[in-house]
């Protein structure tokens, strides 16, 4: 992977990759599907839009490169190469045809509880790998959990990730897509821990069971309201020192939901599933379980066992194409 950059500087457009089709465009990048010329491997190319000659390299692109180089794990997206084309930075990533959001929204797919367990397990494994390398993802949501042709779930988009450095260093509270933002972030905490990623996973877990976003706040203030209506307003009693956070407010005090209420809300969940979800969505970050505890939770041992990745439901359309795809990649 490394030699290409040197050549990229002299020969601007390396012919090692072919861009075939534009598949998505965001504010910050355009994504193309393509092929690696010599191996015929299918790839995705993320072209960072910010012009290199204006403000220099984009910070989030730089971080994404840095962390993806560092993290190699079956449940983290693989960065194959980086190159500079005429004016843009290009990240060559492994080709992942679907994401969890697409599957959640696809009403023709039925999620078995074993499927949910499998996805959750793969997410936890990937994030565990990040956390044990002292990297916070800070933008977990179904949309960033991509699905490989062989069913493996891969964590993507490390543009907001950062390494956990000094305890006295200020961190930005303005991270994570709103619906998946932990309460300490909503209160503007400048010091937070890996627990913010756990919260996001807990909310994703709930979304997988409900098939609809669990805490869809309309704006930042509404997010507080929605969150606390569902999970109770944090008080000094259940979360010591919460009121000292920068933008703490408890305008409306909601009582925390009873276990019975939660059982009704997640009617399909077993007691153990519910227990895991509750411990991942504790309002007080110091009470939230950590990844090791989550991975060792009895939920993953009780029947039904997690579905093997290759048997997980896939996007309904283009099924044949994907299958031939996975065969090709195994060669």
């Amino acid at each position: 992977m490394s030699s290409s950059v040197a050549t990229a500087l002299s020969a601007p457009v390396p012919q090692r990759y072919l861009k075939e089709k534009k598949v998505g465009e965001g504010t910050y990048a355009v994504v193309y599907l393509g092929k690696q010329v010599d191996t015929r491997r299918r790839i995705a190319i993320k072209e960072i839009k910010t012009g290199l000659f204006k403000d220099g390299l984009d910070m989030s692109a730089l971080r994404e490169v840095k962390y993806l180089q560092e993290l190699k794990h079956p449940n983290v997206i693989e960065l194959i190469d980086v190159f500079l084309s005429s004016n843009n930075l290009n990240l060559v990533l492994e080709f992942l045809p679907a994401d969890l959001e697409v599957l959640i929204k696809d009403t023709s797919i039925v999620f078995k509880s074993a499927d949910i367990k499998s996805w959750l397990l793969m997410t936890l494994r990937g994030i565990h790998h990040c956390h044990r390398n002292f990297i916070l993802h800070r933008d977990l949501k179904p949309n960033n959990l991509l699905i490989a042709p062989d069913g493996q779930l891969k964590i993507a988009d490390f543009g907001l990730a950062r390494s956990l450095g000094n305890a006295n260093e200020d961190l930005s509270a303005n991270v994570v897509t709103r619906w998946y933002r932990a309460p300490e972030l909503l209160f503007g905490a400048k010091h937070y821990t890996a627990a913010i990623d756990i919260w996001s996973i807990g909310i994703i877990f709930a979304e997988l069971m409900l098939r609809t976003p669990y805490l869809p706040g309309k704006d930042d203030l509404d997010q507080l309201d929605v969150t606390f209506r569902a999970l109770g307003t944090p008080t000094e009693q259940i979360w010591p020192n919460v009121s000292s956070l920068p933008v703490y407010n408890a305008l409306k005090v909601y009582a925390p939901p009873s276990k019975q209420e939660l059982r009704q809300r997640f009617s399909a969940a077993t007691e153990k599933a519910l227990d895991l979800m509750i411990s991942m969505t504790q309002l007080d970050p110091s009470r939230r379980c950590d990844l090791v505890k989550a991975l060792l939770h009895e939920y993953f041992i009780e029947l039904p066992l997690p579905t093997p990745p290759e048997e997980l439901p896939k996007k309904t359309e283009k099924k044949d194409k994907e299958e031939s795809e996975s065969k090709r990649r195994k060669i």
Binding site: M1, S2, S3, V5, A6, A8, L9, L52, F53, K54, D55, G56, L57, M59, L62, R63, V65, K66, Q69, E70, V82, L84, F134, R162, S163, L164, G165, N166, A167, N168, E169, D170, L171, S172, E184, A189, H191, Y192, T193, I238, W239, P240, N241, V242, P256, K259, D275, I278, S279, Q282, D284, P285, S286, R287, R288, C289, K293
Partner: protein, 265 residues
């Protein structure tokens, strides 16, 4: 070390490292764009001295020690990558340093100046395009391998580790001596001559160490307690692997309670 403010020793070390990267050929007339005005300290070279340049960058951008530690690693990497006979122009070292600093600041901190701000911080030495170019070239040179491994950090910062180690040993000696004297002399330890001579001898070792904030005040003013505290601090720094801080940065400090028990609330 990572928690200390930026020390002059750190800056000097950065200057020395940057100087050792590449030899430059003084060609003062060729690059007329270089402004050579009042900033000049030593007029031998017709450009801002590297030390000055680096000090100003650090001051303007307000970067912290960990960022500079990372910068150091990149500089060391570049030194190993460049052929020994490479010759740069006058501002090559400035450019390399700036690029390394930008790279570390962008990849480590949540907010970093944009390149146009960095350009301003060079006081007109470089243009925005030149800064961008330097950044790109550094990444090309590093072949995008921008991760910092433990051993690279150890190598790049070896002199600091060494001084920390020596002064730690010195402090342990000193503290035990202090303790002995303390008990012996009861509460007159402050002014007793054996201690002050001891302290001054050790503080001369410590004065060239970077991260110990020992340099203020005469040595005889140290109270036993502050020394013990300092020793504990130093210990903490030594045994913790740099940049891979395991310190859980706690939002709230109550001891962890049983998660599942609490879940029932």
């Amino acid at each position: 070390m990572a928690q200390q403010p930026v020390s002059p020793e750190m800056v000097n070390y950065l200057v020395a490292t940057t100087n050792s990267i590449i030899q430059v050929k003084p060609q003062p007339r060729k690059f007329s764009t270089i402004s050579t005005d009042d900033l000049l300290v030593a007029p031998a070279v017709k450009t801002v001295s590297l030390g000055h340049f680096i000090r100003r960058l650090i001051k303007y951008s307000n970067v912290q020690t960990p960022t500079l530690m990372a910068t150091c690693v990149y500089l060391t990497k570049v030194r190993n990558l460049l052929p020994a006979n490479a010759v740069g122009m006058e501002t090559t070292r400035h450019r390399i340093f700036l690029a390394a600093l930008i790279l570390s600041a962008k990849s480590l901190n949540d907010s970093s100046p944009l390149n146009k701000h960095w350009t301003k911080y060079t006081d007109g030495l470089l243009t925005n395009d030149e800064v961008n170019m330097a950044e790109r070239e550094l990444l090309g040179l590093l072949k995008w391998d921008i991760n910092i491994k433990q051993h690279e950090l150890d190598v790049a910062l070896e002199p600091f580790l060494h001084t920390i180690k020596t002064s730690l040993a010195a402090h342990l000696d000193q503290v035990s001596a202090q303790k002995v004297n303390y008990y012996r002399l009861s509460n007159t330890y402050r002014t007793s001559s054996p201690i002050s001579s001891r302290s001054s001898s050790t503080s001369s070792i410590a004065s060239h160490s970077s991260s110990l904030s020992l340099n203020e005040g005469p040595a005889s003013n140290y109270s036993l307690q502050s020394l013990v505290q300092e020793e504990a601090e130093i210990k903490g720094h030594i045994y913790r692997p740099p940049l891979a801080n395991k310190s859980t940065n706690t939002l709230n400090v109550p001891p962890r309670k049983d998660v599942y028990g609490m879940a029932m609330v």
